[in-house]
Subunit: 204 residues, 2 copies
């Protein structure tokens, strides 16, 4: 975990792991990737050259930090998510709200519309898909653990479909990110409203 950028190592070896990283350059490079994608470039069209030009750094600066474009793309996606929070572990409701909140960092709120567009490309490319799974799967697994704990404690229905419930937490969040204020619910209140609606159910 890099405390300065909020990014987590991709698990790929950096070319020069001993060299100190420059948090400001990291930010500029990640923002450049997300800006290119926001401007309508596909992930396959983004190149180290175009990112370097956009960020105002040399290609070598990027290659010192990321071994290849795939690692850079995935780190850009990762930087849109907040770190997995420390969970209080007491109330299932509180923990789910914390997880939904952490689904988006401030960069995620700025570039949130990018994610939905990237997903299809990430899924199609075997290597990217594997790397993307490494970003989202730990978050999904924490969600599953909270839900399982809730079932065991009798707080949640015993017949709850865990995978469907994870989708019901992540899908509406993505839509809120895409359509912004379509719900009339401010982003800050969205996680609590979603979790409460999910727990209570719509039936009278």
């Amino acid at each position: 975990m890099n405390a300065m950028t909020g990014t987590i190592s991709t698990g790929q070896e950096r070319k020069a792991p001993g060299r100190p990283r420059n948090a400001q350059a990291d930010e500029a490079i990640l923002d450049a990737v997300l800006t290119l994608l926001s401007d309508g470039q596909s992930a396959s069209a983004v190149s180290i050259e175009s990112v370097a030009a956009k960020a105002g750094v040399g290609k070598a600066t990027i290659y010192r930090r990321w071994p290849n474009k795939e690692a850079l793309l995935i780190d850009a996606v990762r930087s849109m998510k907040g770190p997995i929070p420390e969970l209080a572990g007491e109330s299932v409701r509180e923990d789910l709200i914390a997880m939904v909140t952490a689904n988006r960092s401030s960069r995620g709120r700025e570039f949130g519309k990018v994610t939905a567009c990237l997903l299809p490309e990430l899924i199609k490319d075997e290597e990217l898909s594997r790397m993307h799974q490494a970003v989202i799967e730990p978050r999904r697994e924490v969600m599953r653990q909270i839900l399982r704990r809730g079932i065991a404690a009798g707080e949640l229905r015993a017949d709850l479909n865990i995978e469907l419930t994870v989708l019901m937490l992540s899908g509406p969040s993505m839509m809120q990110g895409l359509f912004g204020t379509v719900t009339g619910i401010p982003d800050a209140d969205f996680p609590e409203a979603l979790v409460d609606a999910l727990l209570r159910g719509a039936a009278a």
Copy 2:
């Protein structure tokens, strides 16, 4: 409504409205648009020329049917959705399941991954965004009407947040379309599973 293609008129004047439309050519043209988008082209990169080449028709054939690229793109998006179903109007649950089911046509299931990627581009372009609203807003409005009817009949909670509930019906569907079998729920069973989970709530 064109019964052969399942598409609804964009409300734009066709260049030659008296000319009989060729359903097979329509299908080939719409499939060409969606194939180009699936192959990673952005909506802005798609051109009438590239669609004509992909579909194996002349540009004139496309222009006889659609006045411009925007109308063609929106019809391609529309063709991924089933027609708004006739609702029985008895059970809120049944009507919601019918609506979630109609969210995807067979073409939508084939090209479902495209939609998420198009959304950010559609939202960014003012003209496309307006046309896209014309496709999705009537569906959202039917959903809202069902929910309001449910509240009035005492089937749904009186304090239900209608807009959030619409998002909780559409967001997970989009994720299921993107990630396919991630939930382990077959596509055919998904609408019922989602609506029941939404109605019942996750709390014990």
